[in-house]
Amino acid sequence: MDESSLALPISAVLCAVVVAVMVGASWVLGKRSPNRAKGAVFEAGNRAVGEVKSHRFPVKFYLTAILFIVFDVEVVFMYPWAVVFRRLGWFGLAEMAAFVLVLAVGLAYVWKVGALEWD
């Protein structure tokens, strides 16, 4: 076992220790006082309107997250292609172009439908 292969275990242990100290210290030292304000619905500063059913969490957050995931997965597919594309030549380019084209149709659709507008 040479030195470079000790790097991972050492960094893992150090990370664990640092995190444990940070969280553990705040747990032990901090006071816990649950009160109604903390348990209420998160509303980014505004006081939650009384009956929860009358105010719904806006769905655009969820839509943004979904769009992010789909395009993130597209990028993930691009990573392995990117490291080998030099030796794949024109065929590799055509293959990735087809992949991106399908998702470009998706992007065009999403754009035109207005899902990228914030309000």
């Binding site: 149709v105 659709y109 035109k112 439908v113």
Partner: protein
């Protein structure tokens, strides 16, 4: 430079589903980009054009038999005949949905492209000879189907259907992935050829586990007992045009997938899975028929009846010979016509406010709408299996292949189940022709496309019943090359 395996065989094998998928993409863009908001009719016709392109490709390729992508994607009689079934069900769904969705208040023009994507997924499943490709086909089809089931957003039944279908479907996909992992670990490959090669030296426990997991996953999609619990609620809640697509297209795709996987990829293991399928087939037929007997709502009854038909199909798969495979494919073809027709009639009965699909709503239909009642009678008689209609042909050949292979009990139980099923199908016919109508006549709308689709379904049901041999020979020949 890496040697690239992409030649004529590859282009030909991907042509049908690619054309459908590209058609879907074009229809999608058309639906959002055309200058004024395009009416749904134009989107429907664009989608039909996509399906027509796929049809042309399929017909042009009839008779080919090629292995492509290293044997992981097939181009043979089975995939082409399956494509015809899928394209037929998608096309009829599009015609039947036109007008029906608007009257319910569904404005989403993406319905039509989504049907095309689902169809592309089905076509991928029909030709997949690799577990990963099968999985991707299932996912494309299922994602589109989940959304289609819930497309009527204002209706809680539709939302419930989408949610149930999605949650349980995602769970089934987990089983599928575990099964694929088990087979990969056991045999070192995911392609059917690779699995066959690795079966001899594979650890038995992993194989049995893998088979069990795959049966669960595919059984869910095909609505086989004991994985059928979602079917009645999902079929009843979804808009009826979507139910038609699910009941025919999704089921057919699941069965072609099952048939290819077990008869081709896992053929050497047939001692193991044949007995499982025997038991599941009998259970499925019986449960489907027994529950259908007590339904008061025709749409739900048809859902249970489709479970029963899945049982008959599974019986054919259990027999496992190429004769039986051909019979299964023929059955799917006939089943498509009659089931699409039956659901089409239910669509015709619905108005904007009420779906009118209870048994009481069909009473006296013969007085008010004789043509519709006549078409429904043909479809129901065909579903029962009365000659000379299509349904009889399908069942006959499944029974014949079972007897031919020595599975007498299976054949007997199938026939008995058909007799039980006759009761609830005939109950509807009796209600339509021999009972008086209840209440006022609903304000039915005129829907020409739906009428055309129903006419096509009626003609198909009668013709395939009278002249089955062409399709049968083609199907049997197609299977002969698969079952080794």
């Amino acid at each position: 430079m890496i040697q690239v395996p992409f030649g004529t065989a590859e282009w030909q094998s991907i042509a049908p589903f690619s054309l459908v998928a590209i058609g879907g993409m074009i229809a999608l863009l058309w639906a959002v980009f055309a200058e004024e908001r395009p009416g749904t009719t134009s989107v429907m016709w664009m989608s039909q054009a996509g399906l027509a392109a796929g049809l042309v490709a399929t017909i042009a390729l009839l008779g080919s038999e090629k292995a492509s992508f290293g044997g992981t994607f097939a181009l043979d009689g089975v995939s082409l005949l399956a494509n015809l079934v899928f394209l037929l069900s998608a096309s009829m769904t599009l015609f039947m949905a036109q007008g029906h969705l608007e009257s319910m208040g569904v404005r989403a023009r993406e319905f039509y492209p989504l049907v095309l994507f689902a169809t592309a997924g089905m076509m991928i499943m029909g030709a997949a000879r690799d577990l990963v490709i099968l999985f991707l086909g299932i996912e494309v089809m299922s994602l589109a189907a989940y959304v289609l089931a819930g497309i009527h957003r204002r209706d809680p039944g539709s939302t419930e259907a989408a949610l149930k279908y999605f949650v349980l479907g995602a769970f089934a996909t987990c089983f599928l992935l575990y099964g694929i992992a088990a087979f990969y670990g056991a045999t070192g490959a995911t392609s059917y050829d690779g699995i066959r090669a690795g079966l001899a030296s594979a650890p038995r426990a992993a194989l049995i586990g893998g088979v069990a997991l795959l049966v669960v996953a595919l059984g869910f999609k095909a609505a086989i007992v004991p994985f059928q619990a979602w079917t009645p609620d999902v079929y009843q809640g979804a808009p009826t045009a979507v139910t038609a697509l699910m009941s025919v297209g999704v089921k057919a795709a699941a069965f072609v997938g099952i048939t290819r996987l077990f008869l081709d990829g896992l053929g050497p293991l047939h001692q193991d899975w044949q007995r499982i399928f025997w038991v599941l087939a009998v259970l499925t037929m019986t449960v489907g028929n027994v529950f259908a007997l007590v339904q008061g709502n025709v749409k739900r009854m048809l859902a249970y009846s489709s479970i029963a038909h899945a049982g008959y199909l599974l019986a054919g798969v259990a027999v496992g010979t190429s004769r039986a495979g051909g019979a299964v494919l023929l059955y799917l073809f006939t089943y498509a016509f009659m089931t699409l027709g039956a659901f089409g009639v239910l669509i015709a009965l619905g108005t904007g406010e009420k779906p009118n699909d209870d048994l009481d709503d069909l009473r006296g239909l013969a007085d008010r709408r004789p043509l519709l009642a006549g078409a429904m009678t043909i479809f129901l008689l065909s579903l029962t299996g009365i000659p000379p209609l299509a349904g009889f042909v399908g069942k006959f050949y499944v029974v014949e292949s079972a007897v031919n292979a020595g599975w007498f009990w299976l054949a007997i139980l199938l026939v008995l189940n058909s007799a039980i099923a006759a009761y609830y199908y005939l109950a509807v016919i009796v209600a339509m022709w021999m009972r008086d109508p209840i209440g006022d006549e609903p304000a039915w709308e005129s829907r020409p496309y739906l009428a055309a689709a129903l006419l096509a379904a009626t003609v198909g049901t009668v013709l395939v019943g009278l002249f089955p041999s062409g399709t049968l020979d083609f199907a049997r020949h197609a299977f002969a090359s698969i079952v080794r």
